[in-house]
Symmetry: C2
Subunit: 417 residues, 2 copies
């Protein structure tokens, strides 16, 4: 993509209400555009990051047998009355349509997925089964804040599993628990800073689990065990004050951003909809459910919080909107010819390139490259060509090096292997 | 995909409110699930069809320079007040959130895209530019009906273009006009039944254009010119009663389903937001806009209306959820072995397969295959193996033929070339 043709350019103006690195850099970098507090549109660069995040999640959820669906945003009021959450969930957006019909905008989909799966699952032979979607969700947050971290409209992957027994739910829950660690690692989070955190489990399970990435800007306070690699959240701490895995009382307070959560629902929702199955002996039994969430837009914000410096973003390789930020400097004929050739060669090799072909000064182009934060910047100028090459600069390293022009493509491919 | 593992099976129950072939077959075939009148969830098969349709549209819109974004569903009231449409658009879903903030659920995105692009486009050098999205839209229809044809929540591709002059808009409009015909042909519509129809153009243009596919179940009445391959809608007919291209008065009434529309907006929205650009001489000039819509979910319903018989759907090759419906009959060891091998071989060759590996009788499996409507059905049974082969049956042909087992994969690849 030629940066000159991309309609959404960087901006020098700091958003007046930017209260976090992600709100600031994502808006200034031309990734997102704010429409209202907590409500954003995705610009071409931001949409690419979001799709990359979603695709990694999709692949790993399909690995654990999830079948992709896309459920409605409009939820009939009666479904929420049925589960007693129409009045009790305070962040529910409600609206009234034609024919005095009331809807909620889905903030989560237990009220839709339970009766939906009920229409197709009748016997123990149909279980277990798991369905997921990646979709826009809505929460009427009293105070939206922190850019992508707490929005009113956001992207969510929600997986729901259905089982014939508690044991089978437990087995699957552990499978998803492991898949989640794999997802966060693939997304670029340091496994050492991704902490599974015990949280309250509701009526049907002692605990649920949150995935927290440690960050000074995190809203959540968690209490880490010095021996195990787990933590508890404040609610659990107040209850028991020990590590649930080893009984250790030496817990250290840390701040984290919640990037996922998994929950054993038991029969809470299947009970509300009277969703039962026929077991081997012909008896009706309640279906046991689990649910598992990850927010791709929140991940996007979290990655910026964790991977940025004063100049801008440093995207992990796996989610960067393009692989190479190619910069040509000056209007020298040879520079134009060689940078155009490199652009073509990189694309031909299957490498995605953002090509800053504008007639701008070096300082402005480098500032934009730092702000946008692609993992690798290549510069072609009269100076680099004199030395027979191209300047190679990785976003998270301070030094640049020279690479022979003819070897650049091969080296980029290796960098992304 | 093994059909035995797919959670969403076919159903014999005809939906009580199915008023059209698409509502009936898509629900019974396990493509969609109704949540409320005009509100559907997409099941795995339906989501695949939808994504295939969207991808064809995406490719062709990118060909005409569209840059993909994803704009918010929640629209601030003030944007709609600004264009005088908050009170005048009767199908607007409205809701109130925290802090007494009013929103509309986007039924179209002029109110968002105009100020959004305004933030990045300042000079004639930034024009023309075009942005699009493929996204869920909402209309508070008094009476939702005809399944996917008139829903309250539906998928829409909306492209918006921005120009420095009327001439440049005219040029781009013609480019998109041609791209739309290509899209409809790739989606499987017969070019001879896709008719461009003149409709009212509003204050800034004499005409807009609709794309109608001729169908007896169509809601729209159009009046076709016997000489040109164009039509006019009722509104234009009442005004002028002649073909706008050749002046011919011999217009024939037909019924159609509107599958797309294109519209010259002129300065209607740029004016409301005071969106201007600086021209070559440094003067401020109004930006000229166009908009171009196609509804992927409506396309999905239209395809079923056009391509189905009494037994079910007949998907065009380009959008079918899987390429081959592989059916094994009986529990004979050799049948199981050979059908499993064929399943593996087809997948290895990059062909997507829905494999009905259930222990069901032939009649039920064939009925499901006809209902689901993949273009090609392959059957492996003791009888076909005795003859050394597999039964080959195309959904839109009445006769089956035998194919040598070892040549099936090659023949399928050829079928889909």
């Amino acid at each position: 993509m030629r940066y000159s043709k991309l309609f959404s350019k960087t901006s020098k103006t700091v958003p007046h209400d930017a209260d976090s690195a992600n709100a600031k850099f994502l808006v200034q970098g031309g990734f997102i555009h704010q429409e209202a507090a907590g409500v954003y549109s995705y610009l071409p660069l931001g949409l690419k990051v979001l799709r990359n995040i979603e695709q990694i999640i999709r692949e790993e959820i399909e690995e654990v047998g999830g079948q992709e669906v896309s459920m409605s945003v409009l939820h009939p009021k009666e479904n929420w009355v049925r589960t007693d959450r129409w009045d009790s969930m305070d962040v529910l957006f409600k609206l009234r349509g034609a024919g005095e019909k009331d809807y909620a905008l889905g903030p989560t989909h237990e009220e839709i997925v339970t009766p939906l799966v009920q229409d197709y699952v009748f016997s123990y032979k149909d279980l277990p089964t798991a369905v997921f979607q990646i979709q826009t969700k809505f929460r009427n947050e009293p105070r939206a804040k922190s850019g992508m971290l707490r929005g009113r409209e956001f992207s969510m992957k929600d997986l729901y599993s259905f089982h014939a027994s508690q044991e089978d739910l437990d087995r699957y829950y552990d499978e998803v628990k492991a898949a989640y660690f794999k997802i966060f690692e693939r997304l670029g989070f340091d496994p050492a800073s991704t902490v599974i955190t015990y949280a309250s489990g509701g009526a049907f399970s002692k605990y649920s689990h949150e995935y927290q990435v440690l960050s000074e800007v995190g809203e959540d306070h968690i209490y880490m065990c010095g021996k195990c690699r787990v933590a508890v959240n404040r609610e659990i701490l107040d209850d028991q004050n020990v590590c649930p895995e080893c009984g250790n009382k030496d817990l250290t307070e840390k701040k984290g951003i919640e990037v996922g959560n998994i929950f054993k629902l038991g029969t809470k929702f299947s009970g509300a909809f009277n969703f039962q199955y026929t077991d081997e002996s012909g008896k009706q039994q309640p279906v046991i459910m689990g649910c598992y969430g990850i927010g791709p837009s929140r991940i996007m914000g979290s990655l910026v919080e964790l991977f940025s410096d004063k100049n801008g973003i440093m995207w992990p390789k796996s989610v960067a909107p393009y692989q190479v930020h190619l910069v040509s400097l000056g209007v020298d004929e040879k520079v134009i010819k060689e940078s155009e050739k490199l652009y073509k060669d990189l694309k031909k090799a299957g490498i995605s390139v953002l090509f800053d072909d504008r007639d701008e000064r070096a300082g402005a182009k480098f500032a934009d490259a730092d702000l946008i934060g692609l993992p690798l910047r290549l510069v072609v100028s009269s100076r680099t060509l004199e030395k027979g090459g191209v300047e190679w600069k990785e976003r998270n390293k301070s030094d640049a090096e020279e690479v022979v022009l003819g070897e650049a493509v091969k080296k980029v491919k290796k960098f992304y292997e």
